[in-house]
């Protein structure tokens, strides 16, 4: 008798707790959904804000005119757009060989237990977390002035941005190389290929989609960086296109910075239009990365 009463009592307690728990569970779930929506709401607000401010300014003339300090109607981003494209090309020429070579060395050659490769590894992790403005200081002290003494030119900007995004290329390339299964290497070696032949003919082609994604990811980070270019003294306002790699230059984020530093709303609208151009470039690059990944990614 007694045990039956106890059982029904405890059952009641359990049921009551579970209704309270259910409400709390629901509240918790809603709170989580609300916090997740913060990111999405801001992203949407940001896009709507920029489009509504800048879309009307966007035209072919805007893309093919030099900036103007006097008339916001005739201002444009030609020099910045061309500067950014040159920067990206130069930057890619620097980060692809250096980044992939580093990744190959760390994955295929280095003894993982050795102090040197551990040092390199920790070092890359740390570099990935150094604020971009500090890379600007490095560029200013070593590349623009100091040992290289290039001045605030295209090559200096590309090298500074390259050093900044190199860790991204290395980290993603390493993962891609690691994903190529050992059996591929074993097969190649068994057929008499040397280590380098194996890497060049088997491993790298297999890792290519991943490496390409990493490079595009790195370049799309570089394309939006403002701080390091400000610090190395790149122009924010230029009524000329760079002629060669040792020419002075400006870039999209710098042009945007110049536009929105002006209190005049027409110039700020031009800033919004320039942001749209920059975002469009980013969308194209990322779409390219996704396409390449889906088209060429191999399941081993």
């Amino acid at each position: 008798m007694n045990t039956v009463a106890e059982a029904s009592l405890s059952r009641k307690v359990v049921e009551r707790a579970s209704t309270g728990q259910r409400t709390r569970d629901l509240m918790f779930r809603l709170a989580l959904l609300a916090s997740l929506s913060v990111g999405f709401v801001v992203l949407a607000a940001l896009v709507i804000d920029v489009v509504s401010d800048g879309a009307s300014k966007l035209s072919l003339d805007f893309l093919t005119s030099f900036p103007s300090r006097i008339s916001p109607e005739n201002t444009g981003v030609e020099s910045a757009l061309i500067g950014t494209v040159y920067l990206m090309i130069l930057c890619a020429l620097f980060i692809v060989p250096v980044g992939v070579a580093t990744a190959v060395y760390l994955e295929e050659y280095a003894n993982r237990e050795s102090r040197l490769s551990r040092l390199i590894e920790v070092n890359i992790q740390n570099l990935a977390a150094v604020p971009s403005v500090v890379y600007g200081i490095l560029g200013l002290a070593f590349i623009v002035r100091g040992p290289l003494g290039l001045g605030p030119v295209l090559l200096a900007g590309a090298l500074t941005l390259g050093l900044l995004v190199l860790p991204v290329v290395i980290i993603v390339s390493r993962e891609a190389i690691r994903a190529v299964p050992s059996s591929i290497r074993e097969g190649s070696l068994a057929l008499g290929a040397t280590q380098w032949q194996t890497i060049w003919k088997q491993v790298l082609p297999g890792a290519l989609p991943g490496v390409t994604t990493g490079v595009i990811l790195a370049l799309s980070r570089a394309i939006g960086e403002t701080a390091p270019l400000l610090v190395i003294g790149a122009a924010t306002f230029a009524r000329f296109n760079p002629d060669g790699i040792t020419d002075r230059f400006t870039a999209m984020p710098l042009a945007i910075f110049e536009f929105i530093s002006d209190a005049d709303t027409d110039f700020r609208a031009a800033g919004a239009a320039a942001i749209l151009v920059l975002l469009a470039l980013l969308v194209v690059m990322n779409a390219g990365a996704i396409f390449l990944r889906n088209r060429y990614e191999r399941k081993w």
Binding site: Q21, D25, F28, R29, L32, L36, V38, G39, F40, V42, L43, A45, L46, D49, P97, V98, A101, T102, L106, E107, E108, R112, I120, E121, Q125, L127, A128, A129, V130, S132, V133, I137, L138, L140, A141, F142, G146, L166, I171, R174, E175, S182, R185, E186, L189, T194, W196, S220, G224, T226, A227, V231, I256, F257, I260, S261, R268, A272, I275, L278
Partner: protein, 316 residues
């Protein structure tokens, strides 16, 4: 994120090659060429340290270390008598704006992570997470524009707050949104690394999803979540353009977020654009502040790496 490459379980390739490696001088040359490329990353760090220290040491020849570290007036670019190199207001403003940012980013970032990891179905998660990552790919100048032309005039002034055109609140809030995805994705990875058996055990004992999330999964992933927070803080502390554009160009030793504030990174960018001689303490101040910022992020990053290691050791 950065940390994922560290301890992942790649097979040990080097032993595979051991017998064939030193076959020709060509192979050896390639090996050294690759090593040379890998050393560029070490050279980068060395370059950063040398470039910072060289000018910082010179700077401390002109300005006493005590005056720099404990001085409460930061007016390095004004000439003559009113020039002063006390870094306290600048460090305070940096931490204050970062703090506002973290007030946004920590709860919403961790909340997003718990939802993605414990509540969302795999399909929903696969769609939502990349969109969240898009947010962290938006150039910071765009966030700066958003803070300056939308958050300050439309939202803050619209709410009736008496803020200036440049203010710490707007910059801090938007800074928080910038680091939210970083915190959410890294924390989501940490929660995801908790083995399913722990969840199943708790569900089997009759725990609700909320109890499982908060009392089983979250504590088990705590070190990874802390690593995510520290990583977010480190990214927020070093952010330049949002504060440069929306925070203003002056430091203010105040608790009032409606005032203009400048952080260390924004000072570096602003001062290096200013027309100053490259020999005086004004120029040196750029590097001294750079050193201070570099050391702060280095410490934060070391803490974050330590926490990541901890959670990896437990479950892998």
């Amino acid at each position: 994120m950065e940390a994922t490459s560290a301890g992942a379980m790649g097979g040990p390739r080097p032993d595979l090659y051991r017998k064939r490696t030193r076959r020709s001088t060509g192979e050896a040359a390639i090996r050294y060429a690759l090593l040379a490329a890998a050393l560029i990353s070490i050279l980068t760090t060395t370059g950063i340290v040398i470039s910072l220290l060289e000018e910082t040491v010179k700077f401390f020849g002109d300005v006493g270390i005590g005056d720099y570290l404990f001085g409460t007036k930061w007016t390095p670019l004004s000439g003559g008598r009113s020039q002063s190199f006390g870094v306290v207001p600048l460090v305070f403003d940096t931490l204050y704006v970062t703090g506002i940012g973290l007030l946004v980013a920590v709860p919403f970032g961790v909340g997003s992570a718990i939802y993605l990891s414990e509540y969302a179905s795999p399909r929903v998660r696969k769609t939502l997470k990349p969109i969240l990552e898009v947010l962290s790919g938006v150039p910071t100048i765009v966030f700066g524009y958003f803070a300056l032309t939308f958050v300050t005039p439309t939202i803050l002034k619209g709410l009736g707050l008496e803020v200036g055109s440049f203010n710490a609140l707007s910059a801090g809030l938007v800074l928080g949104v910038l680091v939210l995805p970083t915190i959410a994705t890294v924390a989501d990875d940490a929660l995801g690394a908790v083995p399913g058996s722990l969840r199943e055990g708790a569900f089997g004992l009759g725990a609700s999803r909320m109890q499982v999330s908060l009392r089983v999964v979250f504590p088990a992933a705590l070190s990874g979540v802390v690593a995510a927070l520290v990583l977010g803080a480190s990214r927020a502390i070093g952010e330049t353009v949002i504060i440069l554009v929306a925070g203003g160009q002056t430091t203010n030793l105040t608790l009032d977020p409606a005032q203009a504030m400048q952080n260390m990174a924004a000072f570096i960018a602003a001062a290096s654009r200013a027309d100053i001689p490259t020999s005086g303490p004004e120029y040196g101040a750029i590097f001294a502040v750079g050193t201070t910022l570099f050391l702060m992020t280095l410490v934060l990053n070391a803490i974050s790496i330590r926490f990541v290691r901890k959670y990896r050791q437990v479950y892998e």
